[in-house]
């Protein structure tokens, strides 16, 4: 379910069925990497939308967690942990982060949720049909990881 009035209303009715929160991680930077950071955000957004479509009834897709890459450093990790805490307090059992930014990899141990690092594919120049195909092929790879995660604590 998406972070929209319509879906949140639906979520309220079915909260016990929705035990998973997905959060796209979105880097912001003004350096030379600006374009690649934008590409990461775009790609992760597309992937998160598709993931939400597949698992609509069991996941709540939060708005992107936005962070300043160079300025924030570890601060961003602490903030993300707060998101996790809030979700757990709300009774959510699985918190999944999607990112294309490999710098999160080094904090993976420290993070309390599940980090899914997606290697960035340059989809922005593809024609819409091929773009869709690429995204759904990638999603096929991720679905089993999440289904595996769910098996650990079945509803």
């Amino acid at each position: 379910m998406k972070w929209s009035t319509q879906d949140v209303a639906r979520y309220k009715e079915a909260a016990s069925y929705v035990d998973t929160v997905i959060v796209p991680l979105m880097p912001v930077d003004f350096g030379e990497d600006m374009k690649s950071k934008a590409a990461m955000g775009e790609y992760v957004n597309l992937m998160t939308d598709e993931l939400e479509r597949q698992f609509h009834g069991r996941v709540l897709q939060l708005p992107p967690f936005t962070y300043m890459v160079t300025a924030e450093g570890e601060q961003a990790v602490l903030r993300l942990k707060q998101w996790h805490e809030t979700a757990v307090e709300a009774g959510k059992q699985h918190v999944i982060y999607l990112t294309a930014d490999s710098s999160w990899k080094k904090y993976e141990e420290e993070l309390t949720g599940t980090l899914l690092w997606l290697p960035l594919l340059p989809v922005e120049d593809l024609d819409p049909k091929l773009k869709r195909k690429t995204i759904s092929d990638q999603i096929e790879q991720i679905l089993p990881i999440i289904m595996e995660e769910w098996k650990k604590s079945p509803q």
Partner: protein, 165 residues
């Protein structure tokens, strides 16, 4: 000549003229505004269109997965909508089922679980449906998968809206 001999006095003539001209001007300004406000409503009528799904020859007894992409116009906000559809042949009939689980809207998949062959399986809350879309008693869904109306034109299958079975 006194004023009384005229059917229309000068004052009345001016009033009528100004009202008339003013009316046209107001209408000229208001029409585009009204038109713009009701535009999404007028456009929505076009939604009954049939969309190309698959060639008839490609279909067999086994449900195959297809994705339908179209631009949805929700008021002023346009977005790309994707619908996953399972389609197969049943004699001369074509069965096109929506892959949206009727429980909470996840995407189901044909033979999605090894434990349940020949069934549609929902990975979220383990809902099951028979081949024809009938929900299996005892699993979360309370109604069958929705079915699309379809027509065959020049050997290709076109689908319209999905309806509850």
């Amino acid at each position: 000549m006194s004023e009384k001999n005229h059917n229309v006095s000068r004052r009345q003539f001016l009033t009528y003229t100004l009202t008339g001209v003013g009316g046209f001007m107001a209408a000229g300004m208001l029409m585009p505004m009204v038109r713009m406000a009701v535009d999404p409503v007028l456009d929505a009528a076009a939604e009954g269109d049939m969309n190309y799904l698959v060639e008839f020859d490609e279909l067999g007894e086994e449900p195959i997965r297809r994705e339908l992409t179209y631009e949805a116009d929700d008021g002023w906000y346009e977005s790309e909508q994707i619908e996953t559809i399972y389609v197969y042949r049943d004699g001369d009939d074509v069965v096109a089922l929506s892959a949206v689980c009727t429980h909470l809207g996840c995407t189901v998949s044909w033979e999605g679980s090894e434990d349940y062959p020949e069934m549609f399986y929902c990975p979220c809350h383990f809902g099951l449906y028979e081949r024809d879309g009938t929900n299996v008693e005892g699993t979360p869904p309370t109604e069958p998968l929705h079915r699309y109306e379809y027509e065959i034109r020049d050997g290709a299958v076109y689908v319209g809206q999905s309806e509850p079975q």
